[in-house]
């Protein structure tokens, strides 16, 4: 195991180095090594996951130390990996989706000149992401945190000739950096509070400060025991960590980078901006659950921002015409759900949603990629329509994804979302639940708007492209189907409480996932002092389930009324006029949604206009005042020299007079010294 765990992360980096070095010469064979590497690490990961979840490492999990990274006196950081059930759960998603995306890309990128580069970057990303979930110390996580940022930067800007792509990649990195600042400060705060950056030790120290009984955790700089009066309040620590999470998981107001990130190739969107990286924030908060638990006010903030982001993003997704952007905003919205869950303390639900989304969103993105592929890189849904028959595999898989997103049982999407809504209601966050329901309607609506516009109705595809539309190659469709499986079954597998049909008879138990994650979240729950709520299908839970199913259906129906539907016998034409006068009825909301609530404009004003002015002023200040003083002194000196030179008239008598005056002054000054 001690060798295997590092290998999970090291195989991809090896693949990266190899490809980066010689990939250029491999041409169309460049994918072999990277894919193999990821495949291998997937296999290993699965072994590790199995061992973990079957309690192979016990509840504490297993840490593997590689070397002393930073031995700076009291500040001592090890490069070490750590695996526990939470990690395992993440590993499943990351490695699986990662592998499938790699395979898919073989087809998708086959015509791209930067073929080898793409796989190199993908491998780099895999390494970073795995490091992120495996890291044993906050600083290691931070390293990974930045590295995923880097690889995302590289992949978004993959088509560097496109200026939009370059700008988007830069934007992504910088916005992420904003969050990272918070994260970094959080890490420092943790160290100052606890004197260690090992995740488990520090959490232990922060949540169980030294009180006689507890073990002493040495606190820097004087290595005394961590006591409850921390230099930095725990709430601050929690919020700083959350700031980092906001950056990566694109929570309001740092959500602006994610939609632009769609400039990258679609597989990238699927892997990084839907399935894995954006979930890092969720992972981080879940990981730190005891810290948050001991700072309830911070949790409220998390929940609030989360659910607000969900609403905001959903509202934008309603009107977007770019197929990928719709998905992007839905991703945002779903991430919002997850944070809402984290905020209300439904950590298991959050991770559940994370996994479900990981597969579903991955599926949807890859499918959309296949669509785009089919219509020759066209992303505007207004130029699609009626593709259902032309690209059946894509259509079917995407439909599955959509249904899952909408939250129709028994698909994974339903279980996870319902879990969140239910939990938040049960835990007394009714407002979160209410907003969540609204978002659910929107979700169902925009998903089927997407399906409708893309696949149903009559084709609006450019006539030149029309005849050339074709289904994607196997290498792309197979991954779609492979992803569809978990998208359908994951919910049943992970969330089914107790034995089959048990719930109907009131039997219940924690779902499989809940069982796995129990040890991870136990501390948090303990701190919150919360006992497990009984799952009652004929009680409140049942009602909630019905409600959420109802709203999901409502959303779908609304979408059908406006944009038409063609499933089996069920046929209905879309109704553009109605859409038009709907938009006309709420012009502001429409424009707001269409213009993404003008966030990009706001940022432009804030940072480009105002910030630019400030920078320009400072530069002026530097040149004219700071440097000006220096040059001024020089100039004054020189000029005074020129002035004094005028004394030198060249006329002896003037000189003599000068001397005479000097003599007189001399006499006077000596005379003043006469003491007699």
């Amino acid at each position: 195991m001690d060798i295997l765990i590092p290998l999970i992360a090291l195989l991809p980096i090896a693949g990266f180095l190899f490809t980066a070095a010689v990939g250029r010469r491999l041409g169309k064979r460049a994918h072999i090594v990277p894919v193999a590497a990821v495949g291998l690490s997937w296999a290993i990961a699965m072994v590790v996951v199995f061992t973990t979840l079957t309690g192979g490492f016990g509840e504490a999990g297993l840490a593997v130390k590689l070397w002393d990274w930073i031995p700076a006196g009291a500040f001592h950081i090890e490069a070490a990996f750590f695996v526990d059930n939470l990690t395992a759960a993440l590993l499943i998603v990351v490695t699986t989706v990662g592998l499938l995306v790699h395979i898919y890309s073989i087809g998708y990128m086959s015509h791209d000149p930067g073929y080898w580069r793409f796989f190199a970057y993908l491998n780099l990303f895999m390494f970073s992401m795995l490091l992120l979930v495996l890291g044993d110390s906050w600083l290691t996580v931070f390293v990974a945190w930045e590295l995923v940022g880097l690889s995302s930067y590289l992949l978004i800007g993959f088509w560097y000739r496109k200026n939009s792509a370059a700008l988007a990649s830069k934007k992504a990195f910088l916005v992420n950096r904003v969050g990272d600042v918070g994260f970094a400060l959080g890490i420092m705060a943790i160290w100052v509070n606890t004197g260690t950056l090992n995740i488990r030790d520090s959490i232990e120290a922060l949540t169980h400060p030294f009180t006689g009984g507890n073990p002493c955790i040495p606190v820097a700089p004087d290595l005394s025991c961590a006591s409850s009066d921390f230099t930095i309040p725990v709430a601050i620590v929690a919020l700083l960590l959350f700031a980092g999470a906001m950056g990566k998981s694109a929570q309001f107001p740092l959500h602006v980078w994610l939609p632009d990130a769609m400039e990258g190739p679609t597989p990238v969107s699927a892997l990084i901006h839907a399935a894995t990286m954006v979930n890092a924030g969720v992972y981080l908060v879940a990981r730190a659950n005891p810290i948050f638990a001991s700072a309830p006010e911070a949790m409220v903030v998390v929940a609030g921002i989360g659910i607000f982001t969900a609403l905001l993003a959903a509202s934008i997704a309603l009107t977007q015409t770019d197929i990928k952007r719709v998905l992007a905003y839905s991703t945002l919205s779903q991430l919002g759900y997850m944070f809402a869950a984290l905020g209300v303390g439904a950590w298991t639900a959050a991770i559940f949603h994370l996994m479900a989304q990981g597969f579903t969103k991955g599926l949807l993105f890859l499918a959309s990629g296949s669509v785009i592929h089919a219509v020759h890189e066209e992303q505007d849904m207004r130029k699609m329509g009626g593709l259902a028959k032309k690209i059946p595999h894509t259509y079917r898989t995407m439909l599955i994804g959509a249904i899952g997103m909408a939250g129709i049982p028994p698909l994974a999407g339903f279980f996870s979302k319902d879990e969140i809504l239910g939990e938040s209601f049960v835990l007394g966050f009714a407002w979160v639940w209410a907003i969540g329901v609204v978002v659910a309607i929107m979700t169902a609506f925009y998903m089927f708007r997407l399906i409708g516009l893309t696949f149903w109705g009559e084709s609006r595809v450019d006539t030149t492209v029309e005849p050339k539309i074709h289904e994607s190659p196997r290498v792309m469709t197979i991954p779609l189907w492979l992803l569809a499986i978990p998208a359908v079954l994951l919910g049943l597998v992970l969330a089914w409480p107790g034995p089959p049909l048990g719930p109907l008879f009131g039997q219940s138990g924690p779902g499989l996932l809940a069982g796995w994650l129990e040890p991870v979240f136990a501390p948090g729950i303990e701190i919150l002092g919360r006992h497990e709520a009984e799952f009652a299908i004929f009680g409140i839970d049942g009602v909630l389930i019905l409600i959420s199913v109802a709203v999901a259906v409502a959303g779908m129906v609304a979408a059908w009324r406006l944009f038409g539907v063609e499933i089996g016998g069920l046929r209905r034409r879309g109704n553009p006029e109605q859409v038009r006068d709907l938009t006309a009825r709420a012009p502001f909301l429409y424009r707001a949604s269409l213009n993404k609530w003008w966030f990009d404009e706001l940022n432009h004003v804030l940072f480009i206009l105002i910030g630019g002015r400030i920078a320009a002023f400072l530069w002026w200040f530097d040149a004219n005042v700071v440097d000006g003083i220096v040059n001024g002194i020089g100039a004054v000196t020189r000029r005074s020299g020129g002035g004094l030179a005028r004394v030198q008239t060249g006329r002896v008598q003037n000189y003599a007079l000068g001397i005479a005056v000097g003599l007189i002054v001399m006499v006077v000054s000596y005379a003043m010294m006469v003491r007699a």
Partner: protein, 545 residues
């Protein structure tokens, strides 16, 4: 290796090379120079091998030779962890720079190489000298060759730049001379009129540490003088304005050495002399210096954001990065000090490499205007790849060396004062911003018309050029993953420096004095702004007359 004067050898090997070049035909200049530099480098590596890191902050391989007995001035060299690293940095960058100058420098190659080797002598000497007088001499020796390198082989406005550089530095260093003499005499007076040891670093340090050290007034004044000299070299805000000019005008190799080593002289001086000789004064000045450092960090980054010239941008980024050094030193925290020293090394490697890379593109385009670049990724992928690597290294990407130093400094600062740390951490964004801005403008988009106009002159980075940056890149990675290597070496020095300054207690300064000082500064600024129309910022023409 004991007995054999290895330090003297390292210090004066380049001089031998210089003399050889002087008497050999010009065609020999390049190989001989490179050879000398490489030999020095190897010698310094031997030093690393022989160096025993465990033995605390004591000086090793010390050599002692009575020089001016009348004043107890000695020729005394010695190396501890701190100086060891900086010496190796110097020797490394030296041969790299010389190699990098082979192609760009075509005129007066003999003089160039000679100046460069003498420059190396001076730099190494500064780091190894253990006698304040000797230290000062080496300190000044550095000045002259740099003056010539910028002034003779520099760009269009080189004369203005080089004279500004020299005068600015000279003002500081001459005051430092006064301080050195004052300190020495204070010791001699206290020592019953006996000059022996009055210039000996270790003796003075001991004296400062024991028995209350030097008289407070002397400390305040002398430290002030030292501070000025070092602050100008570092350069700290607001003494930084010579740097952009010097960098822009200097030839590539000059910029490399300037950024890579000369700026470190300041940081080194602070740690070695400022803290050890005048602990009380250091404690007194620390808050002000910390504030200045914070300003420098943010200010430099913001100004870098709007620089139109590649070198200017990197220059201002240096101001920002070196701000971390001074910050780390003056919070008097082990992590901070560790970080500061690491930051010095890393800044040397990374910024040095960046200047080399700027030089590479300048070689081909004879232009450094960022606005004219664009789309290089397609044309010169290898170059852009390497550039990208160092850009992210400079932006403090974790896993590369830049991050460790910065983070340690921030950590120490956080422990010292969270708000200060927050301010400094903010630069993570700005740093990434200007670096990525520059990188994006250079790399992405379609090949700019200007570059396209160069046709086939615009070749990808050559093997030799790669050879110059490759070692730096390797070190950046190694030190990023295994900073322990460095930390172990400097551990002793850091502990000692902190112990020294730890003995100090802030001196009560009459608030009136402070007020008057601040008033004066304000007055100067106001005066300057009022007289803006009189002396335009471009005094260049006037000064270079």
């Amino acid at each position: 290796m004991d007995g054999f004067p290895i330090l003297t050898t390292i210090t004066f090997l380049p001089l031998v090379g210089a003399l050889l070049i002087a008497f050999l035909p010009a065609s020999w200049a390049r190989p001989v120079a490179l050879g000398a530099a490489l030999l020095t480098w190897i010698a310094s590596l031997l030093l690393v091998v022989g160096f025993s890191a465990g033995s605390g902050g004591f000086f090793q391989f010390t050599e002692e030779l009575s020089w001016i007995p009348a004043f107890g001035i000695e020729y005394k060299l010695g190396v501890d962890g701190l100086s060891l690293l900086l010496v190796v940095l110097t020797t490394t960058l030296s041969w790299i720079s010389i190699l990098a100058s082979f192609k760009p420098i075509q005129t007066r190659i003999k003089e160039y190489m000679i100046s460069f080797l003498i420059l190396e002598v001076g730099m190494i000497g500064v780091f190894l000298a253990l006698d304040t007088f000797l230290f000062y001499i080496f300190w000044e020796i550095v000045l002259v060759p740099m003056y010539l390198i910028i002034g003779i082989w520099g760009g269009a406005n080189r004369i203005y730049a080089t004279i500004k550089f020299v005068l600015y530095t000279l003002v500081g260093s001459l005051l430092m001379l006064v301080a050195i003499l004052a300190t020495a005499f204070a010791f001699q007076a206290a020592n019953g009129g006996d000059w022996t040891g009055a210039f000996d670093y270790e003796v003075l340090r001991l004296y400062a540490a024991t028995a209350g050290g030097f008289d407070p007034t002397l400390q305040l004044v002398a430290f002030g003088a030292f501070f000025l000299a070092f602050a100008i070299k570092v350069p700290m805000f607001p003494f930084h304005t010579w740097l952009p000019d010097a960098h822009v005008e200097a030839p590539t190799a000059g910029s490399v050495i300037l950024a890579g080593v000369l700026l470190k002289l300041g940081g080194y001086g602070f740690i070695r002399y400022g803290l050890s000789f005048y602990p009380d004064a250091a404690q007194t000045y620390a808050p002000a210096i910390i504030v200045l450092s914070l300003i420098a960090i943010i200010y430099g980054a913001i100004v870098a954001l709007v620089q139109p010239d590649l070198k200017k941008l990197v220059a201002y980024s240096s101001v920002s990065h070196m701000g971390f050094v001074t910050l780390g030193i003056f919070i008097f925290q082990p992590q901070g000090m560790d970080g500061a020293i690491l930051q010095m090394i890393n800044h040397g490697l990374i910024t040095g490499a960046l200047f080399l890379l700027v030089g590479v593109i300048y070689e081909r385009t004879h232009d450094r205007t960022i606005a004219r670049m664009g789309g290089l990724a397609g044309r010169t992928p290898a170059y852009i790849a390497i550039m990208g690597f160092f850009v992210f290294a400079s932006a403090g990407l974790p896993g590369l060396s830049g991050f460790v130093g910065e983070f340690l400094v921030l950590l120490g600062t956080f422990a010292f004062n969270p708000l200060a740390a927050a301010t400094a951490t903010f630069v993570m964004i700005l740093g990434a911003a200007y670096m990525l801005w520059m990188f994006q403008r250079m790399a992405t988009g379609e090949l700019s018309s200007f570059l396209a106009g160069l046709g086939k002159h615009l070749t990808d980075i050559s093997a030799v050029e790669i050879l110059t940056v490759a070692p730096l890149g390797a070190l950046v990675v190694v030190f990023g993953l295994f900073p322990g290597i460095l930390l172990n070496i400097i551990d002793g020095s850091v502990t000692r420096a902190l112990a020294d300054v730890g003995t100090g207690t802030p001196i009560a300064v009459d608030p009136l004095v402070t007020a008057v000082g601040l008033g004066a500064i304000a007055a100067v600024i106001v005066l300057r702004i009022v007289t803006l129309p009189m002396f335009r910022a471009s005094a260049s023409a006037e000064t270079s007359a």
